[in-house]
Symmetry: C2
Subunit: 327 residues, 2 copies
């Protein structure tokens, strides 16, 4: 990870764990002047970080804004590829759009695009996606697996199991479930959406853009009225503020891990993980596709991400794309 | 088609077929002043168009540079959707890259991106593609069919039959053939490459980018030495200069027509057209894939664009992606 000098300095303070750092020590270690150190601290203060001067000991990071900037995310990062390049934006149209451009420009496997807010966030089928500043997580991971386009849909399932297990590893007051194809629910309310897009030639994927939107620190009043009965956030369910940078780093770690599993062992272990966390499999559902409404029992997913529904007459139907609800 | 005022004026001259047009008449018809008309003619002259003033009759278009600008292309256009929006560039990195951006910004079905030269043209597998200024055709058509990603490869075949039949309709001194998957050859030498890319969600294509590179007016010396024994141009084979704007408009017409046929009648009529123009089917070939070399007789293509090769032991192998040569 190549951080800017300012972010290098910030990362040292974040990792210093409430002990002061001497300005001279920082200057020596980073090979820049004390004046330069001081200027970077000024900039960080303007961005909302608080520093105290402790006599004869140096500077102490006394308060941090809640941000998902590269230094914060990197301070929690344990991956080899994912998140090793981070494009961080205070505001953007949508991380998917930025990621598209970066992918066309050759961005490397695992590049993360993350923003504090989006002005034009989109879910599946180009539906609008609410992006309250600084409260949620809006990110896209660019991955470049060597697979044909036909395998791309499986990565939505890889992403879903990565996110659900990252959430489970950090929070204990609730159990998230996956709603086919691309949502994560808590107590029946949506807290996360996944939008996978691809750039591809006809026989090879050039880039997959795993777009992830997570309601992290929103309170109910932050949601538009129309969503208040169907949306929730991790913070509402956990009864605690969420450390977004830690969650982002944890998701990257699970995503890298499960991507490696998928590429080396194939779809079977992912399918098992997916069905384990699914809130759909084994339930009676109603699936509304563009053409018809299908009612029956969800019995599994196939290699191509198709949801299999058993009708009351025993017939099994595969659904590629639908909105589903439990009945 | 919304043309600029300058292009509107140019189009009238192009369609006037060597008869003069009165400045007053033009001014009245377009609702602008004669001074404005005169300024647009000045700009056109700077771009290489020649005008003569014929006493009491008006202006005569006496010479035209060989360009593929919107006015020239539009003057030959007979389509309903394809080419109704044209993004024309004297120079660009590659029309595929520009088309990607336009597609993400919502460019409409049938939008054409065309350039006089590319600084970074690419073929399949990101291989470089030579783009001599003003001699070839470098274009991308953005199409937005309502199909799942699995059907996308068939559009490479739709494009191939459209181009080969457009060429056949205009030139009579040679017979072009299609080389699977995406080249058009004349007398065994390459004159056209097709690169189809897609932007897609997992269950629907957002946009297909049909990239087409055609050697039109190049002479042998215009090609790098390494290509001189394997490349050719329409002009070399036809022994005449090629009217590029006319060819572009004709391709758009066939492409719109065959796209409509495909969407309403399915793959079968396209498969028949493709096999009719194929230089591969029925021939003994050697196919080099990433993993192996397969020798046998090419016997057909499947719905998913797979080339079927019958080995000497009778076994039939399907090839998704390969470089092939006749043996």
């Amino acid at each position: 990870m190549t951080l800017s000098m300012k972010d290098e300095i910030l990362k040292r303070f974040l990792l210093a764990n409430n002990t002061p750092i001497s300005g001279q020590h920082l200057a020596d270690e980073l090979g820049i002047s004390r004046t330069a150190i001081w200027k970077h601290l000024q900039t960080l203060q303007e961005e909302g970080y608080g520093f105290e001067t402790i006599k004869k000991k140096g500077y102490l990071l006394s308060s941090t804004p809640d941000k998902v900037d590269p230094a914060r995310v990197t301070s929690f990062l344990t991956t080899e590829r994912f998140g090793q390049r981070i494009h961080y934006l205070e505001e953007c149209t949508s991380t998917q759009i930025i990621a598209h451009e970066l992918a066309k420009d050759g961005a490397q496997d695992g590049t993360l695009v993350i923003a504090e807010t989006q002005t034009n966030g989109k879910g599946r089928m180009a539906r609008p996606w609410e992006s309250t500043k600084g409260k949620g997580i809006w990110m896209t991971v660019i991955i470049r697996p060597n697979v044909p386009p036909s395998q791309a849909p499986q990565f939505t399932l890889v992403a879903a199991v990565a996110i659900v297990n990252a959430i489970k590893s950090l929070y204990k007051n609730f159990t998230p479930t996956i709603k086919w194809p691309n949502d994560i629910l808590i107590n029946g309310r949506k807290c996360t959406g996944i939008l996978t897009e691809m750039l591809a030639e006809m026989d090879r994927v050039e880039a997959l853009l795993i777009g992830i939107g997570i309601n992290a620190n929103q309170q109910l009043k932050d949601f538009p009225e129309s969503l208040q009965s169907i949306a929730t956030s991790l913070s509402i369910e956990e009864h605690e503020p969420i450390n977004r940078a830690q969650l982002v780093a944890t998701i990257l770690s699970y995503l890298e891990n499960y991507t490696n599993v998928y590429l080396s062992e194939g779809f079977l272990p992912i399918k098992a993980l997916w069905e384990e966390s699914s809130g759909t499999i084994g339930k009676r559902i109603k699936a509304t596709t563009l053409r018809e409404v299908i009612e029956g029992t969800a019995i599994g997913i196939t290699e191509s991400g198709v949801l299999e529904i058993q009708l009351d007459n025993g017939e099994i139907k595969g659904v590629y794309s639908a909105d589903i609800e439990l009945t």
